[in-house]
Amino acid sequence: MRLLFVLLHAVLLAGILPAVVAQEEKWSGADALAEDKIMEITGGEYKPWFSPIWEPPSGEIETFLFSLQAAVGAVVIGYFVGYFRGVREGMRRKGAS
């Protein structure tokens, strides 16, 4: 379990470190880079034949929606893990009384 604790901190660090060390990089999304490559391969001829029905109007709003996605997921995880804990606690008390 201690190893896992160390690894989880390493994960946190790994999430931030690259951006601190190499500040000259653009850190754009891998999907945007792939779009550039598609243009290169097709000689700039490829036109996306469908565009998103709705796009977040700004980077801020996009970040907000991504955060919301993570938050909703985290709430669900927290709630049900808490539920499991409660069930176990309940079983233990029942056994004790």
Binding site: P18, W27, E35, P52, Q69, F84
Partner: protein, 223 residues
């Protein structure tokens, strides 16, 4: 990071739909069996879905100087197998295509195939083939492989649709894998570690439930 809206020409976009839809139907049927079985299995299902939601929202910097996000399908793969995981992934991909302009409706079939089907299948194969290792190691390997394989498939899908003028599909695959798969390596490791943390906590809390569902064996399990 998924294939962007409109970036797969005919016939590729609908071919991938044809691959994805039958698997999704099987997944839905399996899901119903799980839900009918016990309310607690339903809770695990919600957990696996929520886990994918969280992890695929986290765009992180990687060694290549670009960003991507883990897929978070590993927990679903280990708990319920690839068919059910495909349904969980398809929901996340639909949400991101509709509200975030991330991925796309026309590329949904291709993205479900990579993130929801072939990636999880690869992870599941690893999970099944490594039964001699400790549970934590198996979970880590299954999650990391499911993640990485997703982007190998994405690269292949793009290479098939856009073969390079010189060198063809193989050269294109090299190019796209250099972007997607390489960026994904550290993120797959990260995702794997987080998956192990959640799985171990579940095992600590409700080993009885995981045993009942046949995910881990009852006695003498090494974690």
């Amino acid at each position: 990071m998924h294939i962007a809206e409109g970036f797969l020409p005919s016939p590729w976009w609908y071919l991938w739909f044809l691959v994805a839809i039958p698997v999704l139907l099987i997944g839905l049927r399996r899901m119903r069996v799980i839900v009918d079985r016990s309310p607690e299995a339903k809770v695990l299902l919600a957990l696996a879905g929520a886990f994918t939601f969280v992890l695929s929202a986290l765009k992180m910097p990687s060694v290549t100087g670009s960003c991507s996000h883990p897929t978070g399908t590993g927990l679903g793969v280990v708990l319920f197998g690839p068919a059910v995981t495909s349904v969980l992934a398809s929901i996340v991909l639909l949400f991101q295509a509709m509200l975030l302009a991330h991925g796309g409706i026309t590329t949904w079939g291709a993205n479900v195939t990579s993130m929801g089907i072939i990636g999880p299948l690869a992870g599941y194969a690893v999970w099944r083939l490594t039964s001699s290792l400790s549970t934590s190691r198996r979970v880590f390997l299954a999650a990391a492989v499911a993640d990485l394989a997703t982007y190998v498939v994405t690269s292949l899908q793009l290479a098939l649709a856009f073969p390079s003028g010189e060198g063809g599909v193989l050269r294109s695959f090299e190019i796209f894998a250099g972007i997607f798969a390489l960026t994904q390596v550290p993120l797959a490791i990260t995702g794997g570690i987080v998956t192990v943390a959640v799985f171990r906590y579940l095992l600590e809390l409700r080993r009885d439930l995981l045993v009942e569902l046949g995910i881990v064996s009852g006695r003498g399990v090494r974690t």
